[in-house]
Amino acid sequence: MRLRLFSSMAAMVIALGCTWVAYPAVAQQDQPIKIGVNTAIQLQVGRDAIDAAKMAIDEINTGGGVLGRKLEMVVADEGEAATEGPKVGIAAVNKLTGEDHVDVLIGGYDSGVTLGELPHISRAKTIFLGIGSASPAIQQKVKDDYEHYKYIFRVNPTNSAKQADGLIDFIKGKLKGELGYTKISIIGENAKWVQDIVPALKKGAEDAGLQVPVAEFFDVQTADFSPIFTKVKDSGSQYLMIILSHAASDVFVKQWYDAKVPVPIGGIDVKGQDADFFNRVGGKAISEVSTNFVLRAPITDKTVAWWDKFVKTYNRSPVYTAGGAYDAVYIYANAVAAAGTTDTDKVIKALEKTDYVGVRGRVQFDELHEVKDGPGYVNELFVQWQDKGERKVIWPKEVANGKMISPPWLQQN
C-alpha cells in the first residue's frame, strides 16, 4: 500500500511537472508575428477556423510575410462552453497574451465565453478579431468605453440584431411580398442573443402587416419538438421562423420531417449551415432555409477559388467561421503592412480604415468596430437545402441563384 501510494504520487508530480515545463516562457522581438487563435477546438466551427487561418497564414508566408516577418499561429482551446463555462476560454486568452505574447487574437464562438474574455483581452491590450460570436453586447462595449475596449473588432458574423433586420427583410420581401403569406410563427432557443432578437422580429413582422400567432422560446436541451410543431400547425401559420445555434438542429429538422409538419421552416440555424448537415440528418433538412455568410457562390471574385482550395486541402466544406478566420488574417496582415509596425495602437488605427474585399464580401468597420453589412458589404444570405443536398441562395434577390422550393409533402401537383 505504501509503495503504491508513493509511486503513484511520484507519477502524478512528474506528469504535472512535464506538462508545465512544456511551455517555455520566452519573450521575442523581431521574431514571427504571432497570431493567437482562441476557439472551441472540439467543434467544427473551431477546427474550420484554425484550418482557414492556417491557410491564410501559409499563403501570406509564401508571399514573403508581412514587413519581412513571417506569421505564426498559436492555438488555445476555449473548451466546452456547455460544461466548462467561460473558465477555459478566459485561461486560453490569458495564456495566449501572457505566455505566448501573441500580437493579435482571432477567434471566439460562444457569445457568453467571448463576453467573459473581453475584459481580459482589453487588460492585456491585445487586438481581438471576433469571427464567431454574434451578440451585439460585444461591440457595444467599444461604444460604451472606447479607450478600454478599442481592441475589440468583429469580422464575422454580422451581429444578431443586424441578422434580425435581415430576417425581417426576408419576411417582408420574400414571405409576404413574393409568396403572399399573412401568418408566420417564430420560435427560438433560450439563449441571450435569441431572447434579444425574437421580440424585434415579432414586432417587425407585425409592422409589416403579418400575424404572429406563436412566438415562443424553448430550452436548449429540448429533445421533443412535437408540442411546438402542433401549436404552430394549429395556429394556421404558413411559415415557421426558427432561431437556433446551440440547440439540437438535427433533432429539430428530423422531427419536423418525420411528422410531415405542413409548415415550411427557415431562419437562423447555425448547425444547419454546415456543409454536411444535409447528410447528417439523412436528407431530412430538405427545403429548410438557413442564413449563411459564405457559400460556394460568386459572392466576390475570391469566394469560389478559396472554397475549392479549402475543400481540396482539408477534404471538407468550410463553415461560416472559416470564411471569417481567413479574412481576419488578411485584414490584420494588411493593417500591419499599412501601419508599418505591429504596435497595437497604430494597427488599431489602420484596422479602423480597413477596406478589404474578402471571401464574404467587402469588409469595413463601423464606429463600433463592427463589420458593415448591406449591399456591397458582407451579406446575410438565405440559403435553402434542395434536392440531393444542393444549396441555393434564394434571398436577397440580387445574389439569388435558385428558386425556393416547398417541402415534398406540401408540393402541389
Binding site: 467561460p86 485561461a91 490569458n94
Partner: protein
C-alpha cells in the same frame, strides 16, 4: 486543541510556496490559473467542512457558489456598487440560501440529501436562464470590476481568504464542534439520544459551509469579471466533490491540495488539445480506483510519521 508543530510547519511552507510562485514566475497567465485554483480550494474546503465531516454529500454546493457570485454581479453591475461590497454581501446571501434549502432537506439521508441539493442548484440554473432580463441569461452578467487592478494583488487577496478559510474550518473541525459533526456521521440517532441538538449542528455547519462558498464565489466573479449560469451547474458541484475526494475527505487541507492539483492538471494538459479531457478522466479513474482514501491527506499523514 493545539496544532502540532509539524502540521504548522507544513502549512506554513505550503502557504509560503503559494505566495512565492506567482511572484517568481510573474506571468499573468500563471497568476490567473492559480487565482482560479485558490477559489476552487476555498470551495473544496467549505464543502469538506459540512459534507466530509457529517457524511452528507452535498451535490448542490454550486447553489451557494452561484448565489455568492450572482450577488457580486448584481451589486457591481446592476447597482454599480464598489466591488468591495461583494465580499460581505455574498456570504450573507449564500447563508440565506443555505437556510432556505437546509431546513427541508437536511433531515434527508445519503442519496436523498444529495439529490435534493442537486435539484435545488439545477432549479436555480434553469431560473437564471429563463429570467434572462435580470440575469443576462446564458451569457450571464458581464463587466464586473476587479477588486485590484493588479492581478497579483487579487491573487494575494484570494490566498489570504483561502488561508482564513482553511484555518477557521480546521480549528472548528478540531474543536468539540467538529467532534459532534463526526459523531453525527457515525450515528445520528445516538447523538440525538445523548441530548445533542442534531438539527442545529447540521444547519449551522451548512451555513458556515455556504458562507465560505459564497465568499469564494464573489472572489471568483471578481477575477473572471463575469458570472454565468454555469456557476450553478451540477457539474461544478461534481468537480468540487472530485477535488475533495482526490484530496482526502474530512481533512479540510487535503481538498485544498486536491483542488490545486486538479486545476493545474486540467490547465497543464492544454498541450494535448482534444485529448485533454480524456487524459484527465483517465488520471481521475486511476486515482478514484487505487486511492480510495484520496491522495494528499493520506500522503501528509505518512510523511508526518516519517518525520517523527
Amino acid at each position: 486543541m493545539v496544532m502540532k508543530p509539524v502540521d504548522f510547519y507544513g502549512a506554513s511552507i505550503a502557504a509560503a510556496t503559494l505566495a512565492l510562485v506567482p511572484w517568481l514566475l510573474g506571468s499573468n497567465y500563471v497568476t490567473g490559473i492559480l487565482t482560479v485554483a485558490l477559489c476552487f480550494g476555498i470551495w473544496a474546503a467549505s464543502w469538506d467542512f459540512m459534507s466530509g465531516l457529517t457524511g452528507r454529500e452535498n451535490f448542490g454546493h454550486s447553489l451557494f457558489i452561484g448565489a455568492g457570485a450572482y450577488t457580486a454581479g448584481f451589486l457591481n453591475v446592476s447597482y454599480g456598487l464598489s466591488p468591495w461590497w461583494s465580499l460581505p454581501a455574498a456570504p450573507i446571501v449564500a447563508v440565506a440560501f443555505s437556510i432556505v434549502i437546509g431546513f427541508p432537506t437536511l433531515r434527508l439521508r445519503g442519496p436523498y440529501f444529495a439529490l435534493a441539493m442537486l435539484s435545488g442548484a439545477a432549479v436555480m440554473q434553469s431560473l437564471t436562464i429563463i429570467f434572462s432580463e435580470v440575469t443576462g441569461g446564458q451569457d450571464g452578467l458581464n463587466g464586473l470590476y476587479p477588486l485590484f487592478d493588479s492581478e497579483l494583488a487579487q491573487y494575494y487577496l484570494t490566498l489570504f481568504f483561502l488561508v482564513v478559510t482553511v484555518v477557521t474550518l480546521k480549528l472548528l473541525a478540531n474543536s468539540p464542534w467538529g467532534t459532534i459533526l463526526r459523531a453525527i456521521k457515525g450515528d445520528e440517532a445516538s447523538c440525538q439520544a445523548a441530548g445533542i441538538n442534531v438539527t442545529f449542528y447540521k444547519i449551522a455547519s451548512l451555513m458556515i459551509s455556504a458562507a465560505f462558498a459564497g465568499l469564494g464565489g464573489a472572489l471568483y466573479a471578481h477575477y473572471q469579471l463575469q458570472v454565468g449560469p454555469d456557476l450553478f451547474a451540477v457539474i461544478l458541484s461534481i468537480n468540487i466533490i472530485i477535488m475533495v475526494y482526490v484530496g482526502g475527505m474530512g481533512s479540510i487541507y487535503g481538498p485544498v491540495c486536491g483542488a490545486l492539483f486538479l486545476n493545474l492538471l486540467t490547465e497543464g494538459l492544454r498541450g494535448l488539445s482534444e485529448y485533454r479531457l480524456w487524459v484527465y478522466t483517465l488520471i481521475l479513474i486511476f486515482i478514484l480506483f487505487f486511492l480510495q482514501q484520496g491522495l494528499f491527506a493520506p500522503l501528509w499523514r505518512r510523511l508526518r510519521e516519517v518525520a517523527k
